[in-house]
């Protein structure tokens, strides 16, 4: 997997549902600009919406860093959702389809993981959570962790 140096990272606040809408719009634009297809754009924006909502609801707000990966092919888009909330004490449980601590459907983490090419969760109880996802313009259909 190529890992070109990041360029032109944008940081957006995630503190309200108007912010969620803004984050979705910005990521849609970035993905379209990088040449992502319509389905890929939709998957990435949907994953971003789930993760940004987690940042807002569970993390008490935070920010998202949007980084286009434009050196070399394929091009990619990396998104980091950062909060300083309570963290996740049981990652395995939190990643389970249907598990929820916030009254949602419990698809935020597990579902968004299926919608992106790479997914990394970094969390520490009491310190916060960072979820970083990356998708590439050429779909690599092989690895779909969690797909059933």
């Amino acid at each position: 997997m190529p890992d070109p140096a990041p360029s032109r990272a944008t940081s957006l606040p995630v503190g309200s549902d108007a912010d969620l809408a803004r984050v979705r719009r910005q990521i849609r634009q970035a993905a379209a600009g990088l040449g992502f297809g319509l389905v890929q754009q939709t998957k990435l924006v949907t994953a971003a919406s789930e993760l940004a909502r987690n940042t807002l609801v569970h993390g008490g707000g935070g920010h998202v860093e949007i980084t286009p990966l434009t050196l070399g092919e394929p091009r990619g888009l990396r998104l980091s959702f950062v909060d300083r909330g309570p963290g996740i004490s049981d990652i395995e449980l939190a990643m389970t389809d249907g598990y929820t601590s916030g009254g949602g459907l419990g698809l935020g983490l597990s579902g968004s993981r299926r919608l992106v090419d790479e997914f990394a969760l970094d969390t520490e109880p009491g310190t916060g959570t960072t979820v970083t996802v990356t998708s590439w313009t050429t779909a690599i259909p092989a690895a779909r962790p969690g797909a059933r």
């Binding site: 309200s16 549902d17 108007a18 969620l20 809408a21 803004r22 979705r24 719009r25 910005q26 849609r28 319509l38 389905v39 754009q41 939709t42 998957k43 924006v45 949907t46 919406s49 789930e50 909502r53 389809d97 949602g104 459907l105 698809l107 935020g108 597990s110 579902g111 968004s112 299926r114 919608l115 797909a147």
Partner: protein, 136 residues
């Protein structure tokens, strides 16, 4: 800087077509707007005696688990208030994404466009007497 999104929770207009309510969603839907719509629709159904609801999402470019849940709950509310709901116009990319997300929305009736949705409601409507009439 990008311009701010239109204010929080702007109401979505609900159009009455005979005994059916038509709601058209488009663009960026805030969480608050979606929740407000859910309440508005339930009140409209109860007040008007509508027997069908068509929710057109052809202008919506993303349905995440939140909006999916709002749609499912809206349909469930309507059912309890004796109205059927059809969600119409879902874009293919949205459908593909929803299924991969893990949200297959069982219990939600769908149709490809408004016309087919209205047809579905008309066909499903029992021609029984004693059906609730609008108004007066």
């Amino acid at each position: 800087m990008t311009p701010p999104s239109p204010g929080p929770a702007a109401a979505v207009p609900v159009l009455a077509l005979g005994e059916t309510l038509l709601v058209t969603l488009h663009g960026e839907l805030h969480d608050g707007t979606a929740e407000l719509l859910q309440q508005d629709l339930a009140e409209r159904i109860a007040r008007s005696g509508a027997v069908g609801v068509v929710i057109d999402i052809s202008g919506v470019d993303m349905v995440d688990s939140f909006l999916g849940r709002v749609l499912a709950e809206t349909a469930a509310n309507a059912r309890v208030l004796a109205a059927r709901t059809v969600v119409v116009g879902m874009r293919p990319a949205v459908a593909i994404t929803l299924v991969e997300l893990g949200l297959t929305l069982p219990g939600l009736t769908t149709a490809l466009d408004v016309e087919l949705g209205l047809e579905l409601l008309t066909r499903a409507r029992p021609a029984a007497p004693g059906r609730r009439e609008r108004g007066t």
